[in-house]
């Protein structure tokens, strides 16, 4: 038996630069954690930024022009992977900067925490660029275990600890479910490689093992995505975690899982869409209903946003469902557009919250925002933009994303999903408006801990960029972004078992 030792080319190093630079960064940060001399928060921040920027550079300049897999299929980068990694790194960068500018600066910029943070990001970057289940699983665990720790122990308190433990136990449970599903798929197909699965599955239509495998795998992924009814960790954990980590969970984790799910649905499982389509539709419907309805009465902003993120996962799941259809290659573009939009909005909204929080009050209630428009008009304005954007009102990116997603869904005759989505959107407007009402239309109430945030150009810049990007992607620039995403979706579609010709836009 001849052994093919994988050759490590310079091209591979370029392509995997994101992962490597993050690994290096995490090790350095870890060492900083035990060094008095180099462990100052500034130094840690420098290491964080350096490695993140290096990784971003790798994403932009190192990746190959066509989708290539390295190390016998371990590492797969192409447009989709690049978009995923780019988004994750961008989110991580924003979270880092926001942490460095707010009250948790000293706690976050410790060597060990920074190291964990970078490792989480490493895991995500690995996961979105994987073609086999093992790598995918390792990447997933890397990010999950790190998050279990960061949720509860950056700024430990009863609340955050409780959230961490809930997240951990349920996460471990979900991992088991996911693995069980993978195991069944493995038994059925005899391979752990996604691209190979795609070749074998068409022969296994209607096989119960495949069905069960898909079912359990979907449950596990649904958990990470926060789809109802696997969502119940989300409100607790979002509320418990430091807001920066909440933002990371709300955005980067979704990016990570969705990219993988796209690979699954459009690639490996494309042939058995009649298995995952009804299940995903079920998840999407329940998510949209539960997320939107439950968010109505929440008192904590983060908790409300958690339920809202459940609902948004539901909308994204609509686009996932559209992947099963045959009509065109828009669904991926629509999904990614929605995802990018949602990430921008979430990051913006959580940034505003982070900025407002302080030591005594790190879990803002909606009532705490009363009269914000008077005290901090620009923050209130930004928050209002984000809320309208969440609700999907033009001229924001939220609307465009929703439009594209519904478009994808209706192209594939998913009427029921769209109807529930519409109802959900209408309901959702109500709770987003609650925040606006508090900010603009109520007088400030006396709160126990007044919100007196520091002025910070960094925060200003981040929130301002989010607002501008939000509006620009809703009005002037959708075409530019969309074009690049369409190439991504063509890459995905190229792998798919095609049943009908792909249509071109006029």
């Amino acid at each position: 038996m001849n052994v093919t030792i994988p050759t490590l080319t310079s091209e591979f190093y370029g392509a995997s630069l994101p992962v490597y630079s993050l690994c290096v960064g995490s090790v350095v940060a870890m060492l900083q954690g035990v060094s008095k001399r180099f462990g100052s928060d500034k130094a840690v921040l420098a290491v964080l930024l350096l490695s993140l920027f290096a990784a971003l550079g790798g994403v932009f300049f190192g990746a190959p022009s066509v989708e290539t897999s390295y190390l016998n299929g371990g590492y797969l980068v192409g447009d989709l992977g690049r978009v995923g990694q780019g988004l994750i790194l961008g989110i991580a960068l924003v979270v880092t900067l926001m942490f460095s500018a707010t009250f948790l600066r000293r706690k976050f910029l410790r060597g060990e925490v920074a190291s964990l943070f970078l490792m989480i990001v490493t895991g995500m970057a690995v996961m979105v660029a994987s073609d086999d289940i093992i790598t995918l699983f390792i990447g997933l665990e890397l990010s999950s275990i790190g998050l279990y720790a960061l949720v509860g122990y950056i700024n430990p308190s009863r609340r955050s600890q409780e959230g961490a433990i809930k997240y951990f136990v349920l996460g471990a449970f979900a991992t088991s479910l996911l693995l069980f599903g993978f195991a069944l798929l493995y038994v059925a197909t005899g391979t752990l490689r996604l691209s190979d699965m795609a070749q074998i599955l068409p022969k296994l239509l209607d096989h119960n093992w495949v069905r069960l495998g898909v079912l359990f795998a979907l449950s596990g992924l649904g958990f990470k995505l926060g789809l109802a009814p696997f969502h119940l960790w989300a409100p607790d954990t979002y509320e418990a975690a430091p807001t920066g980590i909440t933002a990371l969970m709300a955005t980067a984790v979704k990016v990570m899982v969705l990219v993988v799910v796209v690979r699954f649905f459009a690639g490996s499982l494309g042939a058995v869409y009649d298995v995952w389509l009804p299940a995903t539709m079920f998840l999407a419907m329940v998510s949209m209903i539960v997320g939107n309805v439950m968010a109505l009465v929440q008192a904590s902003v983060k908790r409300m946003l958690a339920y809202s993120s459940v609902a948004h996962s539901g909308y994204m799941a609509i686009a996932l469902c559209a992947l099963g259809g045959t009509s065109n290659d828009f669904p991926v573009a629509a999904l990614l557009y929605y995802l990018i939009g949602y990430s921008i909005i979430s990051l913006g909204a959580f940034s505003v919250l982070m900025w407002l929080e302080n030591d005594q009050n790190d879990n803002l209630l909606i009532d705490d925002l009363a009269g914000l428009a008077k005290k901090h008009p620009w923050a209130a304005f930004a928050m209002a933009v984000f809320m309208f954007s969440f609700a999907g009102m033009p001229p924001t990116v939220g609307f465009m994303g929703k439009f594209f997603v519904f478009n994808a869904a209706l192209s594939n005759q998913l009427y029921s999903l769209v109807i529930i989505g519409l109802v959900g959107s209408a309901i959702s407007l109500f709770y987003y408006l609650r925040i606006i009402v508090r900010m603009y239309m109520s007088e400030p109430v006396r709160v126990a801990v007044p919100l007196v945030p520091n002025r910070s150009w960094l925060v200003c810049g981040i929130v301002g960029t989010a607002v501008v990007a939000n509006l620009a992607l809703g009005t002037l620039l959708p075409e530019q972004l969309l074009k690049s995403l369409v190439s991504t979706s063509q890459e995905v579609a190229a792998k798919k078992v095609k049943l009908a010709p792909v249509a071109k836009a006029h």
């Binding site: 699983f137 275990i145 122990y153 136990v169 195991a183 069944l184 752990l192």
Partner: protein, 100 residues
């Protein structure tokens, strides 16, 4: 003849036990043990599958799962200790601050 189906059934039983443990035991340590049980069920499926399909990927996967299980156990137990420090118990019923 013992076929793959038997192994799958056995794995299902283990998985069920683990699931019930997670769902119904109030002791956090027991919950963690139940998760280990579930992972073992998965391992069984992988190994049996590996034999079935003449492919060693499954066994490699088990290797990694064991690694991850160890990591999870380490982190989980650390959490249990931290919890115990704060609450003086490892009962999950004390975790009811976050709700609504």
């Amino acid at each position: 003849m013992i076929s793959i189906n038997h192994y799958l059934a056995l794995a299902t039983v283990m998985f069920l036990c683990g699931t019930l443990g997670v769902l119904f035991r109030r002791n956090l340590l027991l919950v963690l043990m139940s998760v280990e049980l579930m992972l073992n069920a998965v391992n069984l499926v992988f190994v049996a599958g590996s034999r079935l399909v003449n492919n060693l990927d499954g066994q490699v996967m088990v290797f990694f799962i064991i690694t991850v299980a160890a990591c999870e156990a380490g982190v989980g137990l650390a959490m249990v200790i931290a919890l115990y420090r704060r609450y003086g118990t490892v009962e999950t019923s004390f975790l009811r601050m976050l709700r609504g």
